[in-house]
């Protein structure tokens, strides 16, 4: 069993990170690249804690999954989605600018993590910004030159809501062991393998078949109703519940 590295005291200490870049990934999601004073190694799938402080000392904390690969040293990339009634995401998307500083600590998390040594096949299912930690896993798979079969099922409303689309399409072209399947709930599929409907059992069965063997590990990340529905379908398709790891957000 993998546990967190022993460097605990340093890991839990807050530090300053500078926002290096803010880039729209879709109408509701921005990529935020943070450069901390002291970059710490992490595992693909882990999350960072961010703390914002008001002039009177009031502070708000949130957790965001890291989307960059552990091999991309020096920075952490996040994919932050706008929550209309949110406190932290509207600040990060509308007010923060490159050069601004925020407090961070971590990365943390010892379960929703994948290392190339864990092997595959690997089934990744993400909804909206739930794709962020799956992106870290896929980027780690590339950087580590892992050849394990992998499939990312990306649920989105529109084709333009598919995050990291250019990078994922290029990977789909170049890597015979990787497939991207987009499930678009409010859009027409652009490629034959994508679907113009929500994720259902048929799509997940297709994803599993394409892997050539039962996935050794499945990672599902997104809003809770999404994760609940996808994991219920996956268990119904006969996957071992113990092989399915989830990360859920929202109420």
């Amino acid at each position: 069993m993998r546990v967190d590295a022993p460097e605990e005291a340093a890991h839990v200490a807050w530090q300053t990170a500078t926002i290096e870049a803010l880039t729209p990934l879709s109408a509701r999601v921005k990529s935020i690249v943070l450069r901390p004073e002291r970059w710490r190694p992490f595992q693909a799938g882990q999350h960072l804690d961010i703390r914002l402080t008001a002039p009177d000392g009031y502070a708000a904390q949130r957790s965001y999954s890291v989307a960059s690969a552990p091999e991309t040293e020096g920075v952490y990339e996040l994919a932050v989605e706008r929550l209309e009634d949110g406190e932290v995401s509207p600040y990060l998307l509308d007010i923060a600018e490159p050069g601004d500083a925020v407090d961070i600590r971590g990365p943390f998390g010892g379960h929703f993590v994948w290392d190339a040594a864990d092997g595959g096949p690997l089934l990744l299912v993400g909804g909206g910004s739930g794709v962020a930690p799956l992106m870290s896993i896929l980027r780690h798979r590339v950087a580590a030159r892992s050849a394990v079969p992998a499939c990312l099922v990306h649920a989105a409303r529109l084709w333009d809501d598919v995050l990291f689309r250019g990078e994922l399409l290029a990977l789909d072209e170049d890597d015979a062991a990787f497939r991207l399947l987009a499930a678009l709930s409010r859009d027409t599929p652009r490629r034959p393998q994508d679907t113009g409907r929500r994720i259902d059992a048929a799509l997940l069965a297709d994803a599993i078949t394409g892997l050539g063997a039962r996935p050794r590990l499945t990672f599902v990340c997104g809003a809770n109703p999404f994760v609940e529905s996808v994991t219920t379908l996956l268990v119904g398709l006969g996957l071992d519940p113990a092989s399915i790891r989830t990360e859920r957000f929202g109420g």
């Binding site: 005291a9 839990v12 708000a60 010892g110 379960h111 109420g251």
Partner: protein
Amino acid sequence: MATRGFEGRRPPAELADRIPPGQSLTDGFPVLSAGPTPRIATADWAFTLKSGPRPIKKWSWAEFQALPQTKMTRDIHCVTKWSKLNTPWAGVTVDDLLADAGIEPATPFMLAHSYDGYSTNVPAADLLDGKAMVATHYEGKPLTPEHGGPARLLVPHLYFWKSAKWVNGLQFTERDEPGFWELRGYHIHGDPWREQRFRGD
């Protein structure tokens, strides 16, 4: 140091002292689970009290329902930073379980076990004297599978990962043995008022 341009959204002043550091109020009831939601029929459900490897008493669902039922309304705090106030639960206190089994606490430490293989450690002192229960009802209704039904542990004064969902047993242990999340970097005790989120906090 203040974050440029951040004003924040404060909780109502009269509630501020009920919200631990780093937490935000929610009206929803978010779900956090390491894997898929197990669905256990009450006909198949059983709860076992153990001392070390030795079973002391096992209750079926019907036997469990015949134990004294207690209501408890508490504020709860999840390590993922949400807090929810005035959550109403009902179930059987750990005190009443021990009384029905006819035992005193065997050791100072306990592990809670769940149907999905999850476990979490809680000192016996944090479970006794009315502090904790095995909850079977929320807001007067049977606890749903997403929220841990048929039964979950409720230890409201600690971060909510200690309130193990789908619980099927409590075990006295000789030592304070880390459970599932405690082995994966979470704090061994998890007091939200001391912000004991991660090992090292």
